[in-house]
Homo-oligomer: 356 residues x 2
């Protein structure tokens, strides 16, 4: 068990931005909230999955909504706690620990707020090892966790418990519709599980991974090293392209930011041109009319000079970026997982081939 | 206490169509289901509000969704029961009786199915004394009943409990969004209350009223009497116009059927022309550029020869109809109620003036 300290927050925020693969929403507001919480005496205790008791009762929390909304409609910060507490009341039981939904963008910060507010530990891991756009794409649900009961809550005090659903995709549909009605953002609590199941289905140690990646970026900045190389030293994978953004197409439809960006190589990569498709997150790299990298592998776009992760909402014409490809966690590459998070789940008629 | 028998069903269905004032959806399927239920030994026990125990626990049930959908997407019939049972599980208590949502169209039949399936009595009354398009428009909620917890359920097995809402209008928004996602129709259970509150807020004896109106129509048909006059003998009010439909504009937007119809007088009414505006239900009569009748008064369009109530979805160019205006229940004409179901709640800059 360890406690999150203020010095952890910036690294976690940067690392979760990298793992967010262009999505996951704005981490900055969550960062400020957790910092404020720590400064006012709040405590975020982190336990490794190995430390979870087999009979402990856990709940998965995260923010739900289009990442674009997280820049325009400020969350109050208590939505996810309200959702978890609504589930506690519905079940007539209390939770022993919080399991993060995704280690991408703002959702890296949200579970810390819930854990501190409820006074229970946070598990060092998450359900995606990155960010994905839909809630059925978490390993807890892919590997048989119960989508219902789930709860969503908004900042006004509206609480909804989804008590029974056919499957996780139906939970996504119903929760998404209610979230849109709530103004595009809501706190979500789902996948109530015991500790034994959590250990089998969680992607472990990703909070530490995010912190290590972020720390490596900060160190590289300080020592004028290459931040992209520093990320790869920690996370594995490879630099796919160093270049600049020459074109961005983006539209927000049905709560998702969809589009693609074109990048031209620079330096040793001059002459190469690639397209990165995104659906909230970056989902594929196309080069020479071939998809060379696809989900669930991580396609991370960072600023070449600072290593700052760039989300699909913030990417701009002329940005100088490194496109990194990081390997995805093993729990995302089973047949069962690829059916939910592989290229076909994103509408691409392709089989997944590991890119690193 | 009395038991519904098969011979009651057609009169109730016709009477609820009249009270539905053009809305309330298709009663026919519900009629068939209740008939089947009675034939297979099911029992629908009806108690008057006066017979409800002050400490009894009641729940309000009805179908939710655009009435147009009720003609195109067949409900399975168990949605409202599933919603009420989801609320029972959420509360950890069982209900003692069922209170109807609205005595209009299909929602006249739905509570009978729930009461028979759950083996508890149905209260002779409802929350509208007619049909209205939105769920905050029921007297139980207008007079201070709790909008949450509420439950909605679809025919597939998806159940949602809305555990806390700011107010009834928020319940309407969230439940509507989930209903649309569920395919446009869902069963609803809301306004959990004790018997003492039910007695104060229910519009009493409307199941009997619907049956009496329907029986009067059937009798008039048999004896070649004027069905419109027979309805007025029972319900009060007056014939506003006998004429034919010369124009209908209708569009389905955001789950509502909105539009208006133009009617030209026939016989002693030759030379008069009126417009009836509807939002699922008929909401106003305009004549000589003046709103002469508005909600909450009942504007009922029936076939002149048969007395068959004609819904806003079914009205056609050339139809020969009587437009009847029936007085609305006193519980709908208080200042508190008019704020929710008066002309301004439907976007008309008008004060309500009783038309009969």
């Amino acid at each position: 068990m360890w406690q999150v300290v203020e010095a952890d927050l910036m690294p976690i925020s940067i690392g979760a931005g990298v793992l967010g693969t262009g999505g996951g929403g704005n981490p900055y507001l969550g960062y400020l909230r957790v910092r404020e919480l720590l400064r006012s005496g709040g405590t975020v205790c982190v336990i490794d999955p190995e430390e979870v008791g087999d009979d402990d009762l856990l709940v998965v929390v995260g923010g739900m909504g289009s990442p674009m909304v997280s820049y325009e409609k400020l969350a109050r910060g208590n939505e996810e706690t309200a959702a978890a507490q609504a589930l506690e009341r519905h079940l007539g039981r209390t939770f022993d620990a919080i399991a993060p939904f995704e280690m991408g963008g703002g959702n890296s910060m949200v579970p810390m707020i819930v854990a501190a507010t409820m006074g229970i530990p946070l598990v060092n891991g998450d359900g995606m090892g990155r960010a994905f756009p839909e809630l059925q794409m978490i390993t807890y649900l892919i590997y048989g966790g119960a989508p219902a009961p789930a709860a969503i809550a908004d900042e006004r005090g509206n609480h909804v418990v989804i008590t029974e659903v056919l499957d996780a995709a139906w939970l996504e549909r119903i929760a998404r519709a209610a979230t849109i009605e709530m103004g595009g953002h809501a706190g979500l609590a789902t996948a109530v599980m015991d500790g034994a199941f959590c250990k089998r289905s969680i992607i472990p140690h990703t909070l530490e991974l995010a912190r290590s990646i972020g720390q490596a970026v900060l160190d590289a900045r300080e020592h004028k090293h290459d931040p992209g190389a520093a990320i790869i030293d920690i996370a594995g994978g490879r630099q796919y392209l160093r270049g600049k953004v020459t074109d961005v197409h983006r539209e927000t439809t049905a709560g998702f930011a969809r589009g693609h960006m074109t990048l031209e190589g620079l330096g040793t990569h001059v002459g190469r041109s690639i397209r990165v498709d995104f659906q909230n997150e970056n989902v594929a790299i196309w080069e020479d009319e071939r998809a060379t990298v696809t989900v669930p592998d991580l396609i991370c776009v960072i600023a070449t000079d600072t290593g700052e992760p760039i989300t699909t909402e913030m990417i701009r014409f002329g940005s100088r970026v490194d496109v990194l490809v990081l390997p995805c966690p093993a729990l995302l590459t089973t047949e069962r997982a690829l059916a939910v998070v592989g290229p076909r789940a994103f509408g691409m008629e392709l089989d997944y081939t590991p890119a690193c």
